[in-house]
């Protein structure tokens, strides 16, 4: 069977039989709808439920107005921040899994992957319950505050004023936190894959030659895990850029991301052509990111 697929040039018919169905599926349910949306982006509203595809570029002109461009840039900034935080948290986590004993490793990996088995909506609501004004996060902070106040009294100082719950939800902070929570596994898994492949004796050789742990990390581990880091960054950045649910549920009015704006065009504003244009601008931006990554990869390959 493997031989059949490998020599697909010599066995065109069986190959077509195997590849045909999924190809047809992709064509019908992915490319065709995408093409329709793409066509809509060059159209205008002709009635409440009627779109005339006139070939106009007005939608794109409007989409590149500062109002929308700023939301675009903000989404990119939020996604970049989320990616950075994921990298900073994810790298030590991936290192810890790599260097854990073989007995522990599958359990730690399971811990990383477990959230994938829970619906995103459920996870997001759970996080919201945690972060609400009456949630556990505020309760914990309140207990710390009261404890500090009690300690101050105990040593003869003035007590602190009464605890007022912090607004943790419905702001940019909540969006970034929620996105980090959701995307962390996307970062950890490619990093783990890269670090696991790393020959451990390279680390030992660096230590043996007199390097400390920090220098070994910066000069040996990070450069050699480079492709894994890049993969983790892309795989986190792209979905974070198009995040819809988290900013919708956890964000406030000022923390809208581009996906929320797009959603509004298709629903409340009922302006499908404009929504389509915004969607395709987002898709183009992602294409550029992916192209940049693969260019870097090719360059890396040429260097060898």
């Amino acid at each position: 069977m493997a031989g059949l697929v490998q020599d697909w040039k010599a066995h065109k018919r069986p190959f077509a039989a195997i590849a045909g169905a999924p190809l047809f599926w992709l064509l019908l349910f992915f490319l065709v709808p995408m093409a329709i949306v793409w066509l809509y982006s060059f159209g205008e509203n002709a009635g409440p439920a009627d779109i005339a595809i006139s070939g106009t570029l007005d939608n794109y002109k409007r989409a590149t107005e500062w109002l929308y461009l700023s939301i675009f840039l903000k989404s990119l900034a939020v996604a970049a921040l989320v990616t950075l935080i994921c990298l900073i948290i994810g790298f030590p986590v991936a290192m810890a899994i790599t260097f854990a004993t073989p007995k522990w490793r599958p359990w730690l990996l399971l811990g990383i992957m477990l959230p994938f088995w829970t619906n995103l909506l459920v996870r997001t609501y759970a996080l919201m319950v945690l972060m609400g004004t009456n949630g556990y996060a505020n309760m914990g902070l309140g207990a710390l505050w009261d404890g500090t106040s009690w300690l101050r009294v105990a040593v003869g100082m003035q007590p602190l004023e009464a605890w007022t719950p912090v607004q943790l939800l419905y702001n940019n902070f909540a969006v970034v936190l929620g996105l980090v929570y959701v995307h962390l596994p996307f970062m950890v898994l490619p990093l783990y894959a890269a670090l696991d492949r790393l020959d451990k004796s390279l680390i030992e050789a660096s230590l043996d030659l007199g390097a400390g742990h920090l220098r070994t990390l910066m000069k040996i581990v990070v450069p050699l895990a480079g492709p894994g880091i890049l993969a983790g960054v892309m795989i986190t950045l792209i979905p974070a850029l198009g995040a819809y649910l988290t900013p919708d549920l956890m964000g406030g009015t000022e923390s809208q991301m581009i996906a929320n704006v797009i959603e509004r065009q298709f629903k409340r504003a009922n302006d499908w052509p404009f929504g389509a244009a915004l969607s395709f601008l987002l898709i183009y931006a992602m294409f550029i990111l992916i192209a940049l990554q693969s260019m870097r990869r090719d360059k890396g390959r040429e260097a060898h």
């Binding site: 004796s201 030992e204 050789a205 230590l207 043996d208 030659l209 007199g210 390097a211 050699l224």
Partner: protein, 375 residues
């Protein structure tokens, strides 16, 4: 070994991983300037011992002293030893020169001196001119030389080598054996090598510690190890050997006899100092047994005249034969039913035709050839 100062002292060192004891109460001294080999089968604890000297593992018990200083709790980057890893561990993202300069940079050696020392080290391992190469443009043997240069440039007190030749092909391995010995003579640094390959150990070492199940089975020079193994494990592990069980029947200062029902009465021209009637083992190397056509044996033996009649003599039938070019190896079924291996040098081009399958043959050996093993 002009300098008899111990550079590494291993004192009652044990290493346990959970319930497994990898190294069991080992005490040995490694002298400055020697080429020391830790030899043993895989899983015997030799690599763990080496890694404890390097500092990658800490002893569960005992002390390790390097140059008189207790390093038991000194991390690897602070120890005056360097290691050549089995996988070479050449940094793949750095050029050869950067690999070799890595440790010097950390030590803060200035640029001018650094470049000078890198060039010297590369010349030493015959890689002059390879400075700009990337490791993936090099063969395994060349990468190993980079790893060697990278360690030697640090001028360590001791160079540790973990199975340095295991990944090389047979020809290259033989060449590297000589080169490593030469290199060690040139730089005068103490080399400690781990290997499971007895040829490698015998050809390179000034002294060998044979390790079995975490303990030192014997510590000796190469020829002593081969000719005077201390126990059955060493006799069997180092080289090929025939071992027969027997009883000590005669033990005097200048002669001894062992009755081995499996082969014959064995006569030795030296004493054994074992208890009379004790169970002992006789080890007899295949190349120390002479093979001849029955009947001729007596005449050959008369010429040697070193054993009384009826000793050091056996008969059997050839059951197996492998021609190895320089020697031919025979598997012979003795009249007692036991098998014995005999090797015979092919001194002329047609020697291998002298004997063939199912030939009846006689064997004898000199009175100083058998080794009596008490354990």
């Amino acid at each position: 070994m002009t300098d008899a100062q111990p550079i590494i002292q291993i004192r009652n060192v044990s290493k346990r991983f959970g319930k497994v004891t990898a190294v069991d109460n080992v005490t040995l001294d490694i002298m400055a300037g020697e080429f020391f080999v830790l030899l043993g089968p895989s899983g015997c604890g030799k690599t763990t011992l080496l890694r404890m000297i390097a500092g990658f593992e800490l002893p569960t018990e005992g002390q390790i002293l390097i140059d008189g200083q207790d390093v038991s709790n000194v991390p690897p980057n602070k120890r005056p030893v360097n290691m050549v890893f089995q996988s070479y561990a050449v940094f793949p993202h750095m050029s050869v020169a950067d690999n070799v300069a890595y440790g010097l940079k950390i030590r803060g050696v200035g640029r001018g001196e650094r470049e000078e020392r890198v060039r010297e080290a590369l010349d030493l391992v015959k890689l002059g001119g390879f400075e700009g190469r990337m490791p993936d443009q090099m063969s395994g043997g060349q990468r190993q030389r980079v790893a060697l240069a990278r360690s030697l440039v640090m001028r360590p007190k001791v160079l540790l080598l973990d199975e340095p030749l295991s990944a090389l092909d047979a020809k290259l391995r033989a060449q590297m054996q000589f080169e490593l010995s030469d290199l060690q003579d040139q730089v005068g640094i103490t080399f400690v090598t781990v290997t499971h390959d007895q040829d490698e150990a015998l050809s390179m070492a000034s002294r060998i510690a044979v390790i079995n199940k975490g303990e030192v089975a014997q510590l000796a020079g190469p020829s002593d190890l081969y000719e005077y193994p201390a126990n059955r494990f060493v006799a069997d592990f180092v080289g090929s050997v025939n071992i027969f069980e027997g009883k000590l029947t005669l033990d005097e200062p200048d002669r001894a006899a062992v009755d081995c029902p499996g082969i014959s009465k064995v006569y030795l021209n030296h004493g054994v100092t074992g208890p009379h009637g004790a169970d002992v083992w006789i080890a007899l190397r295949p190349e120390k047994i002479y093979l001849h056509v029955p009947g001729e044996g007596k005449a050959v033996r008369a010429a040697a005249q070193d054993a009384p009649d009826g000793h050091n003599f056996a008969r059997g039938v050839i059951k197996g034969m492998s021609y190895l070019g320089d020697i031919t190896l025979y598997e012979i079924k003795l009249d007692s039913g036991e098998m014995i291996r005999v090797s015979r040098p092919n001194l002329s081009r047609h020697d291998q035709e002298d004997f063939t399958w199912d030939d009846r043959v006689s064997m004898h050996w000199r009175a100083d050839s058998p080794v009596v093993l008490l354990g």
